[in-house]
Symmetry: D2
Subunit: 303 residues, 4 copies
Amino acid sequence: MDIAAILDDIGAAMARATDRGRVATYIPQLARVDPARFGMAVALPDGRLFTTGDAAVPFSIQSISKVFTLALALGRMGDQIWARVGREPSGQAFNSILQLEHERGIPRNPFINAGAIVTTDAALAGHAPREFLGELLRFIRAAAGDDDIHINDRIAASEQATGDLNRALAYFMAAHGNMVNPVDMTLGAYFHQCAVDMTCVQLARAALFLTGAPGAPALVSAARRRRINAMMMLCGHYDASGDFAYRVGLPGKSGVGGGIMVVAPGRAGIAVWSPGLNAQGNSKLGTESVEMLARATGWSVFD
Amino acid sequence: MDIAAILDDIGAAMARATDRGRVATYIPQLARVDPARFGMAVALPDGRLFTTGDAAVPFSIQSISKVFTLALALGRMGDQIWARVGREPSGQAFNSILQLEHERGIPRNPFINAGAIVTTDAALAGHAPREFLGELLRFIRAAAGDDDIHINDRIAASEQATGDLNRALAYFMAAHGNMVNPVDMTLGAYFHQCAVDMTCVQLARAALFLTGAPGAPALVSAARRRRINAMMMLCGHYDASGDFAYRVGLPGKSGVGGGIMVVAPGRAGIAVWSPGLNAQGNSKLGTESVEMLARATGWSVFD
Amino acid sequence: MDIAAILDDIGAAMARATDRGRVATYIPQLARVDPARFGMAVALPDGRLFTTGDAAVPFSIQSISKVFTLALALGRMGDQIWARVGREPSGQAFNSILQLEHERGIPRNPFINAGAIVTTDAALAGHAPREFLGELLRFIRAAAGDDDIHINDRIAASEQATGDLNRALAYFMAAHGNMVNPVDMTLGAYFHQCAVDMTCVQLARAALFLTGAPGAPALVSAARRRRINAMMMLCGHYDASGDFAYRVGLPGKSGVGGGIMVVAPGRAGIAVWSPGLNAQGNSKLGTESVEMLARATGWSVFD
Amino acid sequence: MDIAAILDDIGAAMARATDRGRVATYIPQLARVDPARFGMAVALPDGRLFTTGDAAVPFSIQSISKVFTLALALGRMGDQIWARVGREPSGQAFNSILQLEHERGIPRNPFINAGAIVTTDAALAGHAPREFLGELLRFIRAAAGDDDIHINDRIAASEQATGDLNRALAYFMAAHGNMVNPVDMTLGAYFHQCAVDMTCVQLARAALFLTGAPGAPALVSAARRRRINAMMMLCGHYDASGDFAYRVGLPGKSGVGGGIMVVAPGRAGIAVWSPGLNAQGNSKLGTESVEMLARATGWSVFD
């Protein structure tokens, strides 16, 4: 299989795309990103790397960070985390508060905002936000094999400034007894974790620990790896997770910055970045390019 | 891998189980089934077959039939079916009407009741229910390689007699213009399709067409097969689909009769039957035994 | 107080109105009504009658009939009816099914569709629909003191033909055990009861039994009268009941045909008809003219 | 009419009551109140006063304060307030956040928590919380004709300490642009306004300005008075407002401290206090005693 040629084809197709979706505007730093940007990277467990486009340009990974935080929280608490957050698709928008009321403060899964806030609250585990963020960065850097990965403070500050909906979610869970730390502390950590900057190259490599392939970093146990992949498959694209599974057939997690991290179990770590979003809030060209990749490689887990 | 030994272990473990769940009681024919029953079958594409327990005893496949109807409807209408039914997990109970109101008569996926009624309505495609049911049986028999598969008329009659909630769903969709045939006609077909009797052996073999393995029946295209598998993974166990993916990691579809049909892509068709259900309405021991099988074989797609 | 002059002023103001709302179109018979029609009548307990405009033109009273059916059902079952239907405002559209699922088949009040279907089901009380409809007409005629009040069969037939949403509501309640008669029988009666034709004059007089004034027909007990008025105040205008109470301050019940029946306790029966509806499905000019009347007369119960 | 005798009868009946409801426990100061307490007062516009039981014992008026804040906010903003809060019953519990999401941050009415927070936010109108609270106390004292009415600081502090659900509501509305002041500032004012202590005597007199009777304080215009009464009738008892209207037939507002303020338009101000609550969160004996009073006096507005 000639992955380099496949990526060249994808890059060329995406360069021709006229409808590139809409760039997120809720914070200025995201709104300013050039919608013409497109990058993609495929990292193999043997160390080979394939890229196209802006694969070396850092972008804000946003909700993709929820995967790493879940791995940390599982490491800290093990399966006890599932008493505080479910593992079912939500059937609602990523920031909905409806479900929280029905289920008395227990978010449906760790990848909607409420669930990620609880996961962060669990991962804090009595440590200061600074320590947690340090550990998170160490985890991501170890996964990516690259120490040049940082939190973008300006983006973190903007998240803070526009975070009223997340505050509502957190206080609602606090009212139902599902927050251990003070709301402000957990949210401070949460807003910073969303503000990590990474390139497609870094993100594709960072996904390798979830492939379980020989040669990939062994940062979590095999059982835990399978389960994180299952969560990504079922809940990784908010209320378009079914569509992503249908079209791509691989576990993935998207971020509002236009990035998607994808795992081809046993085969490859994949990352794509295109800032324009579709109606469901996932990268439009990112989804299309991963669909092309899965079709060309036959990497769908359903095949 | 010694599948026979794995099945023996599973059969022994399940025979020891004391909490076997609760048998469905909404129709008398299901309520009368012995909760001590347990059967399991694994069919390989090369024709080999492994079984344990009551694998040759017929049971009512109920909602598992929705997979076959979806395959038929896709064959009839192609992707146009997705204008009438979504492909996202519902985040609700299998028979909820809430979502239908929010989304104006478009069910979330083909495996909740409302979605299966629409799929049946589409598969009818102007034919009489009798013709549709004949075609459905031919499809299932071809998949299973076994002509001794029939509709249980007494169960069909009971479904009719207790079908008011399904009538509510169907009339609600009719009010929103999402029913092509008269509601009574579509429901008549729907109630009969749920009343197919099969054994684990038949069902495991019938699942082979979804494995895509060389030697398996090629009843649908490769793209369609991947997509049906994706739907089963995301939505096959109602509001416990995430839990099934997390624990098992294979596409599957459960029925209220206690059966589960599971696909190990490229590897095997699997069926299990144990009448007692868990709180989410899926076979309790059935889920546990498939979890054991997936762990012992390493067949999880997330591995 | 010069009621005649007040009605003249109202009639003149309404004749000048340019935005008259939108006529209901869900059945042809309603869609064909001239939106320029406007009539109003005020009946005093001493027999005096004041009118303006098309007060002698019959129109379809539609949901206003729910008040008379509730009176009949209370007569048949007494307070036992409240085990089958609540008496709280719904906070939803008149035909919503959401609430039914939350509250397991018990509608919130007798004036939303689901609640009125249950009330009709209760009022049938083992009688054939024909007998029930005969009794209903006798009740209305006695209240109005006028035997020339009939059911419009063409409108009843149209209600039947477009009644899928009501069928969904009824089957949903049947599935929860809240229908005594066969769904078809109850709906047959329900569709006919909505198809009563009356004039403003007849409807204003028919409202007198709810005023409790000396000289008014005593068709129900004083306690029951107060309670029916309370239900009209709280729930009589669907999800605009608060707005009507705020602006008018009198118990009233609207119909999709553009009529409103209003009770000024101790003082007068009032009816108004203008076919154009506002966004909440209540007569636009009808609401405005009753607001003018209440202000001019000081009849608000909150004064 | 011998109101003194009626109150004696009510007081005697309530002293015999064995099921007195459950005292609210969410803050310690409320949980400690003796459930055997019962007081009632009726104030006539001519200055006469009738009481029974603990009518001179101060209690925490809690949500009853929302009526006074609404009067202030209407005075400040006039009908512009209705762009920020609706005037329809909610059909939900008093502290539900569901409706806020459906209606994008606009609470349904000023008497559910979210609506009262918005009303307080509007009444602040650029002033410091201290000034607003001073003005609120002046308003209540003027209405009651009694300067000995104060805020209970211990209760206010407890409200602060347990206010996470209200914080969630407020931040949710802030996220939808429906908060003018900083959330902490508005909530500080809100928590204090709920902590006003009053006796039944004070509260019955304070209700007189809403009767519109000659001799009653004229603190708001006649139109505004009618409208506040309408809101109390439709929404004053959370999701039991229909039940209160059905049984009592008078505008009223309850508080979780066990108090109810009731208006008999043109006739009397009424207050009752019994700390035990019914399932809907309103005073159990309070509701029953006002029902007895309305029946004995014939003061229902629906009569």
